[in-house]
């Protein structure tokens, strides 16, 4: 069972990919994924003051437990100029 982490905008450019897949173990939480992505792509800055973390297109708490096939994305604040 896996989950998908999707990258957009400059995250896509930094990671040079639109998506990575991660194996899901029991009790994997959003924070674990953020930590893993930060470790794998140290140039990404993913703290919550800079980006919003979405699971299946909804903003989710960092301690939220993930389910198989969940899609995680990082969204910068967009206010619509």
């Amino acid at each position: 069972m896996t989950i998908s982490v999707q990258f957009h905008g400059h995250h896509r450019m930094t990671t040079r990919t639109g998506e990575i897949r991660m194996p899901l173990s029991v009790d994997t939480r959003v924070e674990d994924v953020v930590n893993y992505v930060s470790y794998r792509f140290p140039d990404l800055e993913l703290c919550t003051s800079k980006v919003l973390v979405l699971v299946n297109n909804s903003i989710t708490a960092m301690d939220h437990a993930l389910n198989p096939n969940d899609k995680i994305t990082f969204l910068p604040p967009v206010g619509g100029g």
Binding site: S49, K50, I59, P76, G79, G80, G81
Partner: protein
């Protein structure tokens, strides 16, 4: 240049952000005068949009239309424009009675014009009358002269272009040179032949060694300028811009500017990266969340959209070594530009040009026509600027006609060529025909509201169907409200944004409220009441930006690191604190954010009064097309049927959804219409309006707006009688 009228003057000094002078030009009599403003004028009307609203409320009537001599074309910055030590300070507004909406429109625009106008001694320029000859206006603060002159002619090819004409004019004015201390506004041939002509704001960029341009895009301000016979305005001043506002507390200005610049520098590179990518960065996010207005807002995304993501423009077009931005000192600098772009189509094919853009809205307008070709976007951007056409209204009007073909309301035989989604050649043809007022372009140039009436008549002639019945169908996908075309976001899945578009006083432009993400994605507005509060708060703060001469982007699109810890992160209040400090330091006030919002509310209500007077202010005028609320036709429903079915299940709280798709579609539309109707009630109440969207007398009275004119207007709308208040009756 042949002088018609000239006046010598001593430029008034700027004090605390103001000169308290308006330059008045009457083009019917070719007269020049200076209006001195009483000190309390600025207290009540702030600047920018506020000044335009007050002049238009006082000096026009319900019968004034865009081409009436008494219509006023106002160009005004505000007390905070001009200072390069604060980011985003080159903005001004152009306000007038719109040829599209028949009521007040203003459009904000970047560049150096308003800063130089202020240094020439004027908070605003107000132009009335209609000149029989095409003229230009020259405001030369260095020499202390104001001159109305016959517009010089440089031959048809140059005369027709807003950019090329402006470049030739600046050279002639400056003895053959381009110059940073001169700025212009111009129109092009598109303003002659359409209702959505723009005013171009031109300034010299010495690093690029060419004229750059920004546009007052919405509502046909350029059409008004053209109709007045005003081809261009030149302003010139050699005075230093740093400290030019003569702030009461210069140290406070420096501190506020430095604080905001630090936030922008630190946070933008980790958030949207507007400084590198410009607003095209939004294309990718809009596509992901089904918000890109593909094929006249039918679909929110497209498999080919990655061809127009921001990195494509960055790699192929943007000149990365050159700094961008539309005014000195802005470190967000999102106004990207490209050099030596070769035009492939149109009358200038083969020429290499500099392109200022594209902005997200321009790319969105092209996706609206089903086109995902980055080079077409660059050409479309340049031609619209050169012709002086609003890229949004042009794209939406063209897309509407394309959908009329798709749905059988127009035929290729009637048009004379195939007009279909994604066809670059057809889109080019329609663009150039619109600019010169030829063929179907003549219809397109009238905007969606008038084009749909023409289509209905044509279709009725061809089929014998009743015009009213045809219009009912066309209204489902004619993406306009109050006569203005929608800006480039799909609002179907965000009820708050449906309100953001419907209630916007100028028509469906997102500069009053862009709530899609906090509603649809963040889900921070779960109730009608929460949506209503946002639909009051955001338009007020955004109104303030348009009154003081500032760009909103450093506030709204760069989130302060402390904002996440506040109750309402989307309001980004830690950054707004810098703006309030900048205001107070400049003008010498001690206002809070609440005071600022109150100041804005006065302007907001004044604009509402103008709308009511001009027949565009009631609940009926806030209604949006069906497509703005949901999937108007089965093909849109089918494209996301799983999503819509889930939405229906949520709404029905576990009840079975109808088994047949047509019934599900009908039910969904019914629920969406009911939700918008309820939103109207809740929002009007939040704003202090009647259920017909008319301000209650006490709402106006709170802001000192319940004068005799306002009272008569409310009476004519049945409000005073119905809601008779003792204070009103006795006042």
């Amino acid at each position: 240049m042949k002088t018609i009228e000239t006046m010598s003057y001593h430029p008034a000094p700027v004090t605390g952000g103001y000169t308290d002078r308006v330059l008045r030009i009457d083009l019917s009599s070719h007269s020049i005068s200076v209006q001195h403003l009483a000190p309390e004028f600025k207290e009540e009307y702030i600047g920018g949009r506020g000044y335009a609203l007050k002049l238009i409320w006082d000096e026009t009537t319900a019968d004034t239309r865009y081409d009436s001599p008494e219509n006023i074309l106002v160009m005004a910055g505000g007390p905070l424009c001009c200072e390069p030590r604060f980011p985003g300070t080159g903005k001004f507004i152009i306000g007038t009675i719109s040829p599209l909406t028949d009521t007040f429109i203003d459009s904000n625009i970047g560049g150096h014009f308003s800063s130089l106008l202020k240094l020439c001694g004027f908070d605003a320029l107000a132009v009335t009358g209609v000149s029989r000859k095409e003229v230009i206006l020259i405001v030369n603060g260095d020499e202390g002269t104001i001159e109305i002159a016959e517009a010089p002619s440089y031959g048809n090819a140059v005369n027709e272009g807003a950019l090329t004409y402006g470049t030739a004019l600046m050279r002639e004015f400056n003895g053959g040179e381009l110059d940073e201390n001169t700025a212009l506004v111009t129109t092009g041939v598109g303003a002659t032949n359409t209702r959505f002509g723009v005013v171009n704001s031109l300034f010299y960029d010495k690093r690029r060694q060419r004229i750059r341009s920004k546009q007052a895009g919405r509502g046909g301000t350029g059409t008004v300028m053209h109709h007045k016979g005003l081809r261009a305005v030149i302003v010139r001043s050699n005075l230093d811009r740093i400290g030019a506002n003569k702030a009461v507390d210069d140290r406070g200005v420096k501190e506020a500017g430095s604080s905001l610049k630090k936030v922008v520098s630190h946070m933008d590179r980790q958030q949207l990266r507007l400084a590198s990518w410009g607003t095209p960065v939004l294309i990718e996010y809009m596509d992901k969340y089904h918000l890109l207005p593909v094929n006249n807002y039918q679909y929110g995304r497209h498999p080919d959209s990655k061809a127009i993501f921001a990195d494509v423009f960055l790699d192929r077009y943007f000149e990365k070594k050159l700094p961008d931005g539309c005014y000195f000192g802005c470190n967000l600098a999102c106004a990207k530009g490209a050099e030596n772009v070769t035009l492939r189509y149109g009358p200038r094919a083969g020429e290499r040009v500099g392109v200022d853009g594209p902005e997200y809205e321009t790319a969105g307008a092209v996706s609206c026509m089903g086109i995902f070709d980055p080079h077409f976007i660059m050409e479309y951007n340049w031609y619209c600027d050169e012709y002086g056409l609003d890229t949004i209204s042009m794209g939406v009007s063209a897309s509407f006609l394309m959908e009329c073909v798709q749905r059988g309301y127009l035929s290729s035989e009637e048009i004379g060529y195939e007009l279909k989604w994604g066809d670059v050649e057809a889109a080019h043809r329609l663009l150039h025909d619109t600019a010169i007022g030829q063929g179907l372009g003549k219809v397109c140039g009238q905007g969606v509201h008038r084009a749909k009436a023409w289509v209905a008549e044509q279709h009725a002639k061809r089929t014998g169907e009743a015009v009213e019945r045809i219009l009912t169908e066309l209204n489902k996908f004619a993406m306009e409200t109050k006569g203005l075309e929608f800006s480039m976001y799909i609002s179907k899945e965000s009820l708050a944004q449906q309100g953001g578009y419907g209630f916007a006083l100028k028509g469906p432009q997102h500069d009053e409220a862009w709530l899609i993400f906090i509603d649809q994605v963040h889900k921070e507005l779960p109730t009608f009441e929460a949506k209503a509060q946002a639909l009051k708060w955001f338009p007020l703060i955004r109104t303030w930006f348009n009154a003081v001469g500032l760009c909103k982007l450093p506030w709204i699109d760069v989130r302060h690191p402390e904002a996440a810890k506040t109750d309402n992160p989307a309001q980004n209040q830690p950054t707004l604190a810098y703006y309030v400090q900048y205001l107070n330091s400049t003008v010498g006030s001690s206002k809070t954010l609440e005071d600022v919002l109150n100041d804005s509310e006065r302007l907001y209500l004044l604009q509402k009064l103008i709308n009511l007077r001009n027949g565009k202010g009631t609940r009926q005028s806030d209604q949006i097309p069906l497509r703005a609320m949901g999937p108007a036709f089965p093909n849109e429903y089918e494209a996301r049927c799983d999503y819509y079915d889930e939405w229906l299940k949520e709404q029905l709280n576990g009840e079975e959804i109808p088994p047949d798709r047509e019934a599900r579609h009908r039910l969904l539309i019914k629920l969406r219409e009911e939700a918008f109707d309820r939103l109207c009630d809740v929002v009007y109440q939040e704003k202090g309006f009647t259920s017909e969207a008319i301000p209650l007398p006490e709402t106006l009275e709170k802001f000192g707006l319940l004068d005799e004119r306002a009272r008569n207007l409310l009476t004519s709308l049945g409000v005073v009688g119905k809601y008779s208040l003792r204070r009103v009756a006795g006042s």
